[in-house]
Symmetry: C2
Subunit: 184 residues, 2 copies
DNA sequence: TGTACATCAGTGAACGCGCGTTCACTGATGTAC
DNA sequence: TGTACATCAGTGAACGCGCGTTCACTGATGTAC
Protein backbone atom coordinates (compact mmCIF):
# COMPACT_ATOMS: atom_id res chain seq x y z
CA UNK A 1 0.00 0.00 0.00
CA UNK A 2 1.00 3.60 -0.35
CA UNK A 3 2.58 5.38 2.64
CA UNK A 4 2.75 9.08 3.60
CA UNK A 5 5.50 10.74 1.54
CA UNK A 6 6.95 12.35 4.66
CA UNK A 7 7.94 8.94 6.04
CA UNK A 8 10.06 7.90 3.07
CA UNK A 9 13.06 10.12 3.76
CA UNK A 10 12.87 9.32 7.45
CA UNK A 11 12.93 5.58 6.73
CA UNK A 12 15.93 6.04 4.46
CA UNK A 13 17.78 7.69 7.34
CA UNK A 14 16.67 4.98 9.75
CA UNK A 15 18.04 2.27 7.45
CA UNK A 16 21.33 4.18 7.25
CA UNK A 17 21.55 4.52 11.04
CA UNK A 18 20.80 0.85 11.68
CA UNK A 19 23.23 -0.22 8.97
CA UNK A 20 25.97 2.03 10.33
CA UNK A 21 25.49 0.59 13.80
CA UNK A 22 25.25 -3.07 12.74
CA UNK A 23 28.16 -2.87 10.29
CA UNK A 24 30.41 -1.45 13.01
CA UNK A 25 29.21 -4.06 15.49
CA UNK A 26 29.54 -7.14 13.31
CA UNK A 27 31.29 -6.13 10.08
CA UNK A 28 29.93 -5.75 6.55
CA UNK A 29 29.82 -9.47 5.84
CA UNK A 30 28.48 -10.29 9.29
CA UNK A 31 25.21 -8.46 8.71
CA UNK A 32 22.57 -9.34 6.13
CA UNK A 33 20.26 -6.96 4.31
CA UNK A 34 17.31 -8.70 5.97
CA UNK A 35 18.72 -8.07 9.45
CA UNK A 36 19.19 -4.39 8.74
CA UNK A 37 15.65 -4.06 7.44
CA UNK A 38 14.28 -6.01 10.38
CA UNK A 39 16.15 -3.62 12.71
CA UNK A 40 14.32 -0.71 11.06
CA UNK A 41 11.01 -2.55 11.52
CA UNK A 42 10.44 -3.49 7.87
CA UNK A 43 10.67 -6.60 5.71
CA UNK A 44 13.61 -7.00 3.34
CA UNK A 45 11.66 -6.26 0.14
CA UNK A 46 11.62 -2.43 0.15
CA UNK A 47 15.37 -2.28 0.69
CA UNK A 48 15.73 -1.93 -3.06
CA UNK A 49 13.37 1.02 -3.09
CA UNK A 50 16.01 2.85 -1.08
CA UNK A 51 19.36 1.45 -2.26
CA UNK A 52 20.54 -0.17 -5.46
CA UNK A 53 22.54 -2.90 -3.68
CA UNK A 54 24.10 -3.92 -0.38
CA UNK A 55 27.41 -2.47 -1.60
CA UNK A 56 25.72 0.87 -2.25
CA UNK A 57 24.35 0.83 1.31
CA UNK A 58 27.81 0.01 2.67
CA UNK A 59 29.25 3.03 0.89
CA UNK A 60 26.41 5.37 1.82
CA UNK A 61 26.35 4.28 5.47
CA UNK A 62 30.10 4.80 5.69
CA UNK A 63 29.80 8.36 4.38
CA UNK A 64 26.82 8.93 6.69
CA UNK A 65 28.77 7.73 9.75
CA UNK A 66 31.77 9.77 8.71
CA UNK A 67 29.96 13.10 8.94
CA UNK A 68 28.36 12.36 12.30
CA UNK A 69 31.52 11.03 13.96
CA UNK A 70 33.71 13.91 12.79
CA UNK A 71 31.14 16.29 14.27
CA UNK A 72 31.95 14.70 17.67
CA UNK A 73 35.58 15.70 17.28
CA UNK A 74 34.71 19.27 16.34
CA UNK A 75 32.36 19.53 19.30
CA UNK A 76 35.22 18.87 21.72
CA UNK A 77 37.28 21.75 23.09
CA UNK A 78 40.66 22.78 21.68
CA UNK A 79 42.66 22.91 24.90
CA UNK A 80 45.41 20.38 25.75
CA UNK A 81 43.02 19.04 28.42
CA UNK A 82 40.29 18.51 25.81
CA UNK A 83 42.75 16.62 23.65
CA UNK A 84 43.69 14.32 26.52
CA UNK A 85 40.02 13.81 27.32
CA UNK A 86 39.38 12.90 23.69
CA UNK A 87 42.16 10.32 23.76
CA UNK A 88 40.94 8.90 27.08
CA UNK A 89 37.42 8.53 25.71
CA UNK A 90 38.67 6.90 22.55
CA UNK A 91 40.77 4.41 24.51
CA UNK A 92 38.13 3.75 27.17
CA UNK A 93 36.57 0.38 27.96
CA UNK A 94 33.20 1.95 27.10
CA UNK A 95 34.34 2.66 23.56
CA UNK A 96 35.91 -0.78 23.30
CA UNK A 97 32.66 -2.43 24.39
CA UNK A 98 30.36 -0.39 22.15
CA UNK A 99 31.75 -0.63 18.61
CA UNK A 100 28.30 0.05 17.16
CA UNK A 101 28.44 3.66 18.30
CA UNK A 102 32.18 4.06 18.00
CA UNK A 103 35.03 4.76 15.62
CA UNK A 104 34.42 3.73 12.05
CA UNK A 105 38.09 3.10 11.34
CA UNK A 106 38.71 0.78 14.27
CA UNK A 107 35.56 -1.16 13.43
CA UNK A 108 35.85 -1.49 9.66
CA UNK A 109 39.37 -0.66 8.41
CA UNK A 110 40.40 -4.30 7.94
CA UNK A 111 37.29 -5.26 6.03
CA UNK A 112 37.49 -2.17 3.83
CA UNK A 113 40.61 -3.68 2.27
CA UNK A 114 38.45 -6.48 0.82
CA UNK A 115 35.52 -4.31 -0.30
CA UNK A 116 36.48 -2.21 -3.35
CA UNK A 117 33.09 -0.45 -3.24
CA UNK A 118 33.88 1.35 0.03
CA UNK A 119 37.61 2.03 -0.13
CA UNK A 120 37.03 5.44 -1.67
CA UNK A 121 34.59 6.51 1.06
CA UNK A 122 36.91 5.20 3.73
CA UNK A 123 39.87 7.09 2.29
CA UNK A 124 37.84 10.29 2.24
CA UNK A 125 36.91 9.74 5.88
CA UNK A 126 40.48 9.05 6.96
CA UNK A 127 41.75 12.16 5.17
CA UNK A 128 39.06 14.26 6.83
CA UNK A 129 39.88 12.74 10.23
CA UNK A 130 43.59 13.52 9.83
CA UNK A 131 42.82 17.08 8.71
CA UNK A 132 40.40 17.70 11.57
CA UNK A 133 42.80 16.26 14.17
CA UNK A 134 45.65 18.35 12.73
CA UNK A 135 43.67 21.59 12.75
CA UNK A 136 41.67 21.06 15.91
CA UNK A 137 44.20 20.26 18.63
CA UNK A 138 47.06 22.34 20.07
CA UNK A 139 50.06 20.44 18.71
CA UNK A 140 53.44 21.58 20.07
CA UNK A 141 54.84 22.12 16.56
CA UNK A 142 52.65 23.36 13.70
CA UNK A 143 55.07 21.91 11.18
CA UNK A 144 54.83 18.43 12.64
CA UNK A 145 51.14 18.56 13.52
CA UNK A 146 50.04 16.44 10.57
CA UNK A 147 52.65 13.75 11.18
CA UNK A 148 51.73 13.74 14.88
CA UNK A 149 48.05 13.34 14.01
CA UNK A 150 48.81 10.35 11.82
CA UNK A 151 50.87 8.77 14.62
CA UNK A 152 48.14 9.44 17.20
CA UNK A 153 45.51 7.91 14.93
CA UNK A 154 47.61 4.82 14.20
CA UNK A 155 48.25 4.21 17.89
CA UNK A 156 44.64 4.68 18.90
CA UNK A 157 43.16 2.61 16.07
CA UNK A 158 45.73 -0.18 16.56
CA UNK A 159 45.20 -0.28 20.33
CA UNK A 160 41.43 -0.36 20.05
CA UNK A 161 41.48 -3.12 17.43
CA UNK A 162 43.84 -5.26 19.51
CA UNK A 163 41.91 -4.58 22.72
CA UNK A 164 38.72 -5.71 21.00
CA UNK A 165 40.22 -8.82 19.42
CA UNK A 166 41.58 -10.22 22.63
CA UNK A 167 39.83 -12.81 24.77
CA UNK A 168 41.41 -11.78 28.05
CA UNK A 169 39.97 -8.74 29.76
CA UNK A 170 43.08 -8.00 31.82
CA UNK A 171 45.25 -7.90 28.70
CA UNK A 172 42.65 -5.83 26.87
CA UNK A 173 42.54 -3.29 29.71
CA UNK A 174 46.33 -3.25 29.86
CA UNK A 175 46.60 -2.40 26.14
CA UNK A 176 44.19 0.51 26.50
CA UNK A 177 45.88 1.77 29.67
CA UNK A 178 49.45 1.60 28.38
CA UNK A 179 48.67 3.28 25.08
CA UNK A 180 46.72 5.96 26.95
CA UNK A 181 49.65 6.74 29.24
CA UNK A 182 52.06 6.60 26.28
CA UNK A 183 50.15 9.46 24.67
CA UNK A 184 50.40 11.82 27.67
CA UNK B 1 42.07 -44.73 -3.80
CA UNK B 2 44.62 -45.21 -1.07
CA UNK B 3 47.68 -42.92 -1.02
CA UNK B 4 51.18 -43.35 0.48
CA UNK B 5 50.99 -42.76 4.22
CA UNK B 6 53.98 -40.42 4.06
CA UNK B 7 52.00 -37.91 2.03
CA UNK B 8 49.17 -37.47 4.53
CA UNK B 9 51.04 -35.38 7.06
CA UNK B 10 52.62 -33.35 4.31
CA UNK B 11 49.21 -32.58 2.81
CA UNK B 12 47.93 -31.52 6.22
CA UNK B 13 50.77 -29.01 6.45
CA UNK B 14 50.16 -27.83 2.90
CA UNK B 15 46.50 -27.15 3.68
CA UNK B 16 47.57 -25.21 6.77
CA UNK B 17 50.08 -23.14 4.80
CA UNK B 18 47.65 -22.30 2.03
CA UNK B 19 44.93 -21.49 4.55
CA UNK B 20 47.26 -19.25 6.55
CA UNK B 21 48.24 -17.38 3.40
CA UNK B 22 44.72 -17.04 1.97
CA UNK B 23 43.12 -16.07 5.31
CA UNK B 24 45.65 -13.27 5.75
CA UNK B 25 45.18 -12.13 2.16
CA UNK B 26 41.40 -12.11 2.05
CA UNK B 27 40.10 -12.74 5.57
CA UNK B 28 38.41 -15.78 7.09
CA UNK B 29 35.05 -15.14 5.49
CA UNK B 30 36.60 -14.14 2.15
CA UNK B 31 38.03 -17.60 1.52
CA UNK B 32 36.03 -20.79 1.05
CA UNK B 33 37.08 -24.30 2.03
CA UNK B 34 36.99 -25.25 -1.67
CA UNK B 35 39.42 -22.47 -2.58
CA UNK B 36 41.88 -23.57 0.08
CA UNK B 37 41.71 -27.18 -1.09
CA UNK B 38 42.06 -26.13 -4.72
CA UNK B 39 45.17 -24.14 -3.74
CA UNK B 40 46.68 -27.33 -2.30
CA UNK B 41 45.81 -29.18 -5.52
CA UNK B 42 42.93 -31.27 -4.17
CA UNK B 43 39.16 -31.28 -4.35
CA UNK B 44 37.13 -30.09 -1.38
CA UNK B 45 36.01 -33.54 -0.20
CA UNK B 46 39.06 -34.72 1.76
CA UNK B 47 39.13 -31.49 3.74
CA UNK B 48 37.13 -33.29 6.42
CA UNK B 49 39.70 -36.07 6.58
CA UNK B 50 42.10 -33.44 7.93
CA UNK B 51 39.94 -30.99 9.90
CA UNK B 52 36.61 -31.27 11.69
CA UNK B 53 35.31 -27.93 10.37
CA UNK B 54 36.30 -24.62 8.77
CA UNK B 55 36.40 -23.08 12.24
CA UNK B 56 38.85 -25.76 13.40
CA UNK B 57 41.07 -24.95 10.40
CA UNK B 58 40.89 -21.24 11.21
CA UNK B 59 42.08 -21.92 14.74
CA UNK B 60 44.79 -24.37 13.72
CA UNK B 61 46.08 -22.18 10.89
CA UNK B 62 46.28 -19.24 13.28
CA UNK B 63 48.36 -21.22 15.77
CA UNK B 64 50.50 -22.55 12.90
CA UNK B 65 51.16 -19.03 11.58
CA UNK B 66 51.88 -17.78 15.08
CA UNK B 67 54.83 -20.09 15.62
CA UNK B 68 56.41 -19.37 12.22
CA UNK B 69 56.04 -15.60 12.43
CA UNK B 70 57.40 -15.32 15.96
CA UNK B 71 60.44 -17.28 14.79
CA UNK B 72 61.13 -14.39 12.39
CA UNK B 73 61.34 -11.99 15.32
CA UNK B 74 63.73 -14.25 17.24
CA UNK B 75 65.93 -14.63 14.19
CA UNK B 76 66.58 -10.88 14.09
CA UNK B 77 69.48 -9.36 16.03
CA UNK B 78 69.11 -7.72 19.43
CA UNK B 79 70.94 -4.45 18.76
CA UNK B 80 69.18 -1.09 18.54
CA UNK B 81 69.92 -1.17 14.79
CA UNK B 82 68.23 -4.56 14.45
CA UNK B 83 65.20 -3.19 16.24
CA UNK B 84 64.96 -0.25 13.86
CA UNK B 85 65.40 -2.59 10.91
CA UNK B 86 62.58 -4.76 12.24
CA UNK B 87 60.28 -1.73 12.50
CA UNK B 88 61.26 -0.53 9.03
CA UNK B 89 60.50 -3.93 7.54
CA UNK B 90 57.19 -4.13 9.34
CA UNK B 91 56.17 -0.69 8.10
CA UNK B 92 57.49 -1.18 4.56
CA UNK B 93 55.44 -1.02 1.38
CA UNK B 94 56.52 -4.61 0.71
CA UNK B 95 54.84 -5.80 3.91
CA UNK B 96 51.79 -3.66 3.18
CA UNK B 97 51.47 -5.19 -0.28
CA UNK B 98 51.99 -8.80 0.78
CA UNK B 99 49.53 -9.48 3.61
CA UNK B 100 49.55 -13.20 2.77
CA UNK B 101 53.10 -13.56 4.08
CA UNK B 102 52.84 -10.87 6.70
CA UNK B 103 51.70 -10.06 10.20
CA UNK B 104 48.80 -12.10 11.46
CA UNK B 105 47.51 -9.39 13.75
CA UNK B 106 47.36 -6.66 11.14
CA UNK B 107 45.64 -9.03 8.73
CA UNK B 108 43.07 -10.68 11.02
CA UNK B 109 42.65 -8.80 14.31
CA UNK B 110 39.38 -7.15 13.27
CA UNK B 111 37.78 -10.34 12.05
CA UNK B 112 38.89 -12.26 15.14
CA UNK B 113 36.45 -10.16 17.16
CA UNK B 114 33.57 -11.81 15.27
CA UNK B 115 34.91 -15.37 15.35
CA UNK B 116 34.68 -16.86 18.86
CA UNK B 117 36.47 -20.01 17.69
CA UNK B 118 39.77 -18.19 17.13
CA UNK B 119 39.84 -15.51 19.81
CA UNK B 120 41.70 -17.79 22.19
CA UNK B 121 44.44 -18.61 19.67
CA UNK B 122 44.74 -14.96 18.74
CA UNK B 123 45.09 -13.93 22.38
CA UNK B 124 47.82 -16.51 22.90
CA UNK B 125 49.64 -15.19 19.85
CA UNK B 126 49.38 -11.56 20.95
CA UNK B 127 50.67 -12.43 24.44
CA UNK B 128 53.61 -14.32 22.94
CA UNK B 129 54.33 -11.41 20.58
CA UNK B 130 54.36 -8.90 23.45
CA UNK B 131 56.59 -11.16 25.54
CA UNK B 132 59.05 -11.75 22.71
CA UNK B 133 59.20 -8.05 21.82
CA UNK B 134 59.73 -7.17 25.47
CA UNK B 135 62.51 -9.69 26.00
CA UNK B 136 64.19 -9.45 22.62
CA UNK B 137 64.91 -5.77 22.06
CA UNK B 138 67.16 -3.36 23.99
CA UNK B 139 64.54 -1.12 25.62
CA UNK B 140 65.92 1.95 27.40
CA UNK B 141 64.12 1.06 30.64
CA UNK B 142 63.63 -2.56 31.69
CA UNK B 143 60.73 -1.54 33.91
CA UNK B 144 58.85 0.07 31.05
CA UNK B 145 59.82 -2.45 28.39
CA UNK B 146 56.48 -4.26 28.40
CA UNK B 147 54.44 -1.05 28.18
CA UNK B 148 56.74 0.17 25.39
CA UNK B 149 56.26 -3.10 23.50
CA UNK B 150 52.49 -2.74 23.69
CA UNK B 151 52.72 0.83 22.40
CA UNK B 152 55.05 -0.17 19.58
CA UNK B 153 52.76 -3.02 18.56
CA UNK B 154 49.65 -0.81 18.63
CA UNK B 155 51.31 1.82 16.46
CA UNK B 156 52.64 -0.66 13.94
CA UNK B 157 49.46 -2.70 13.67
CA UNK B 158 47.27 0.41 13.43
CA UNK B 159 49.49 2.03 10.80
CA UNK B 160 49.63 -1.12 8.67
CA UNK B 161 45.87 -1.63 8.82
CA UNK B 162 45.18 1.98 7.85
CA UNK B 163 47.83 1.94 5.12
CA UNK B 164 46.22 -1.18 3.66
CA UNK B 165 42.65 0.10 3.86
CA UNK B 166 43.33 3.30 1.99
CA UNK B 167 42.72 3.81 -1.71
CA UNK B 168 45.34 6.50 -2.18
CA UNK B 169 48.93 5.34 -2.47
CA UNK B 170 50.43 8.70 -1.49
CA UNK B 171 48.44 8.74 1.76
CA UNK B 172 49.25 5.08 2.39
CA UNK B 173 52.98 5.75 1.96
CA UNK B 174 52.71 8.83 4.16
CA UNK B 175 51.14 6.84 7.01
CA UNK B 176 53.92 4.24 6.90
CA UNK B 177 56.63 6.89 6.65
CA UNK B 178 55.39 9.10 9.48
CA UNK B 179 54.83 6.23 11.89
CA UNK B 180 58.27 4.87 11.00
CA UNK B 181 59.96 8.18 11.79
CA UNK B 182 57.85 8.59 14.92
CA UNK B 183 59.34 5.35 16.26
CA UNK B 184 62.99 6.41 15.82
C1' DT C 1 -16.41 19.51 -0.64
C1' DG C 2 -17.02 14.83 -2.56
C1' DT C 3 -15.89 11.09 -5.78
C1' DA C 4 -12.87 8.14 -8.95
C1' DC C 5 -8.60 6.82 -9.97
C1' DA C 6 -3.48 6.60 -10.41
C1' DT C 7 0.50 6.14 -7.54
C1' DC C 8 4.04 3.61 -5.28
C1' DA C 9 6.21 1.97 -0.60
C1' DG C 10 5.59 -2.18 1.65
C1' DT C 11 4.61 -7.45 1.56
C1' DG C 12 6.28 -11.93 1.32
C1' DA C 13 7.00 -15.82 -1.79
C1' DA C 14 10.38 -17.08 -4.94
C1' DC C 15 14.87 -17.02 -7.63
C1' DG C 16 19.75 -18.51 -8.42
C1' DC C 17 23.99 -18.94 -6.17
C1' DG C 18 27.83 -20.29 -3.34
C1' DC C 19 28.68 -21.83 0.97
C1' DG C 20 29.98 -25.66 4.55
C1' DT C 21 29.32 -30.28 4.90
C1' DT C 22 28.18 -35.33 3.78
C1' DC C 23 28.64 -39.67 1.54
C1' DA C 24 28.68 -43.74 -1.73
C1' DC C 25 32.18 -44.94 -4.44
C1' DT C 26 37.18 -45.71 -6.32
C1' DG C 27 41.48 -48.05 -6.53
C1' DA C 28 46.60 -47.93 -5.30
C1' DT C 29 48.82 -49.03 -1.02
C1' DG C 30 50.04 -51.75 2.90
C1' DT C 31 49.41 -56.24 5.20
C1' DA C 32 48.58 -61.20 6.11
C1' DC C 33 49.72 -65.53 4.82
C1' DT D 1 58.83 -63.84 -2.95
C1' DG D 2 54.03 -63.96 -4.65
C1' DT D 3 49.02 -63.66 -4.01
C1' DA D 4 44.49 -62.08 -1.86
C1' DC D 5 42.38 -58.84 0.61
C1' DA D 6 41.43 -54.97 3.83
C1' DT D 7 42.35 -50.16 4.25
C1' DC D 8 41.33 -45.39 3.69
C1' DA D 9 42.62 -40.69 1.30
C1' DG D 10 40.74 -38.78 -2.61
C1' DT D 11 36.61 -38.03 -5.94
C1' DG D 12 32.72 -35.51 -7.16
C1' DA D 13 27.70 -35.44 -6.90
C1' DA D 14 24.49 -34.02 -3.64
C1' DC D 15 22.49 -31.89 0.70
C1' DG D 16 20.36 -27.98 3.31
C1' DC D 17 20.95 -23.32 4.24
C1' DG D 18 21.17 -18.35 4.11
C1' DC D 19 22.42 -14.94 1.22
C1' DG D 20 21.40 -10.88 -2.19
C1' DT D 21 18.01 -9.83 -5.22
C1' DT D 22 13.43 -9.83 -7.90
C1' DC D 23 8.59 -9.35 -8.57
C1' DA D 24 3.40 -9.82 -8.72
C1' DC D 25 0.48 -8.09 -5.63
C1' DT D 26 -1.79 -4.87 -1.93
C1' DG D 27 -4.19 -0.89 -0.48
C1' DA D 28 -3.87 3.79 1.91
C1' DT D 29 -2.41 8.13 0.08
C1' DG D 30 -2.35 12.00 -3.00
C1' DT D 31 -4.47 14.06 -7.14
C1' DA D 32 -7.80 15.37 -10.80
C1' DC D 33 -12.13 16.86 -11.61
Amino acid sequence: MRYPASETAEKHTRILNEAARLFRERGFSGVSVSEIMKATGLTHGPFYNHFTSKEALMAESLTHTSTTSLADLEASGQSPQAMLAYIDTYLSTDHRDAPGDGCLMAALASEVRHEPAVRGCFTTHLKAAIDKLTAHFPWPSKRRARADSIRLLSSMVGALILARAVDDEALSDEILKEVRSGLR
